[in-house]
Amino acid sequence: MTEELLVKTLLAARPRLVAGAFAVVRDVHAAEDVFQEVLLRALRMRASFSDQVGALAWARVTARNLGIDQVRRAGRFDEILSEVALDALDTRLEKTIDSQRQRVEAMRLCLEKLPDESRNLLRMRYDEGCKCTELSRLLRRNETAIYKALSRLHLVLRQCIQQRLAAQENA
């Protein structure tokens, strides 16, 4: 497998791989660090990958294991989902990979449709990495209200994405 193909393969799967690590480390920036480490390790052991499927399977397992190591070092191992639940999640994430580009584009359009205030809340949470306690302080709302707002926004986005994907399929 050429280095260029390996990098392209892993970068194409980046959202799915980062999401898998995110489920373990529960910090999107730490999950990106995990992905970066996976990429570095993959480049070092490029010769052992015969095809893209094998490289991706290795990357998935490595990302999870690196995430678990990180959580264990932080003494928070009992705060992550069971292996069986993580396996079930992996299966679901894997199913999204074929339609990843369409989903990402649909998500972009759905995000653009959100009111500025909602988009800003999501950006602060996931881009700036603000914890809900911080958001509560910054936005002067109680933590429960922040959780409710975020979870509602996730559902709104989910519905919007599903509708866009369905419309694309019908078209």
């Binding site: 990098v7 529960r26 920036h29 705060e79 999640l89 995000l111």
Partner: protein, 321 residues
């Protein structure tokens, strides 16, 4: 989607507990309960997968943004107000802005008097990069780069390692020129150099080398090196996004860019920029970036774009009469 009230409430409750799990805010008991629920009903993992992907994509979209505009919002408002009615002041301020915000300061300075090296990095001792949102002094931060050795016909400009830019974003939109960027940041703490900064004649000089492996003739890539001055209050060391801190809170910035990397892997292209430092500068942020400079149908992967030999120094120069 049609749902009865009970199903909707279940979904809302599930979304809330998953949102709390993803935030790392569930108790051990709640995590056990959630694990059991997901094991029992694997279909409920769909919503968790969705929330995780949304978080990742929101983060990614927020990172894909135009280069921060040169800012002047830290200047006193009365300065800005005065520019609207005093043409002479406008001209003078224009020169001052030029000195503060651009690299074109050569015409205003005398030969150097003293020189302090702040950074001389060929990535030899950099084991990895971090992609955390906050910047730590003396650590390169990038979501879009790795440290590599010689490859694809490109030899490091110095030593045996160099920084390799990988990509910028992953969405499927057609991109107009310059919409894709890959970048790397480095924070320098200037507080130990307080004595050097006293006075109005302190200039920071930044230089970096860029190169690319052979790429298709119909593609075009640009590169740039930027330097931003920040005070301690606005240093991006908290959860604040780097782009926001730099575009809104920097005291001054300068940039040097090359709009077209050559197609010769043997030759490195050196960019340099300079900036007169505001006296209250506590930190500098160095930013290296590669941009796609052609309309593309899909996201380019910068598999063969490199940076090496980054040097930052302080020089004290007298102002010209």
């Amino acid at each position: 989607m049609t749902m009865n009230d009970g199903t909707m409430k279940d979904l809302t409750d599930l979304s809330e507990i998953l949102t709390r799990y993803v935030a790392g805010d569930c108790t051990t008991e709640e995590v056990l309960e959630l694990s059991a629920r997901l094991e029992r009903e694997p279909a409920e993992c769909d919503l968790l997968a969705e929330i995780l992907m949304q978080g990742v994509v929101i983060r990614e979209f927020s990172q894909i943004q135009p280069e921060p505009a040169r800012t002047m919002n830290r200047l006193p408002q009365r300065w800005l107000d005065s520019l609207s009615w005093r043409p002479l002041t406008t001209t003078a301020a224009g020169i001052l802005f030029g000195m503060l915000f651009t690299s074109v300061v050569f015409g205003f300075v005398m030969p150097r008097i003293r020189h302090s090296s702040l950074l001389d990095d060929s990535f030899e001792g950099t084991p990895t990069l971090t992609s955390r949102v906050s910047l730590e002094p003396n650590v390169w931060r990038s979501n879009h780069a790795v440290i590599v050795g010689s490859e694809l016909g490109v030899q490091p400009a110095n030593g045996v390692k160099m920084l390799r830019f990988l990509h910028a974003g992953f969405d499927s939109r057609a991109k107009s020129q310059g919409d894709h960027l890959a970048d790397a940041y480095h924070l320098l703490d200037l507080r130990p150099y307080r004595q050097e900064l006293v006075g109005e004649d302190c200039v920071v000089q930044v230089a970096a080398s860029f190169n690319a492996s052979l790429f298709p003739a119909d593609e075009k890539y640009g590169c740039a090196v930027s330097v931003y001055a920040l005070d301690a209050e606005n240093a991006p060391d908290g959860p604040k996004r780097i782009g926001t801190a730099l575009s809104e809170d920097s005291l001054a910035m300068a940039r040097s860019r090359n709009t077209k990397l050559d197609r010769e892997p043997d030759s490195w292209q050196r960019l340099t920029t300079e900036m007169r430092l505001p006296a209250n500068t506590d930190y500098l942020v160095i930013r290296l970036h590669i941009s796609q400079a052609f309309d593309s149908r899909e996201t380019p992967t910068f598999t063969g774009s490199y940076a090496d030999v980054v040097r930052v120094s302080l020089t004290r120069r007298a102002l010209s009469p």
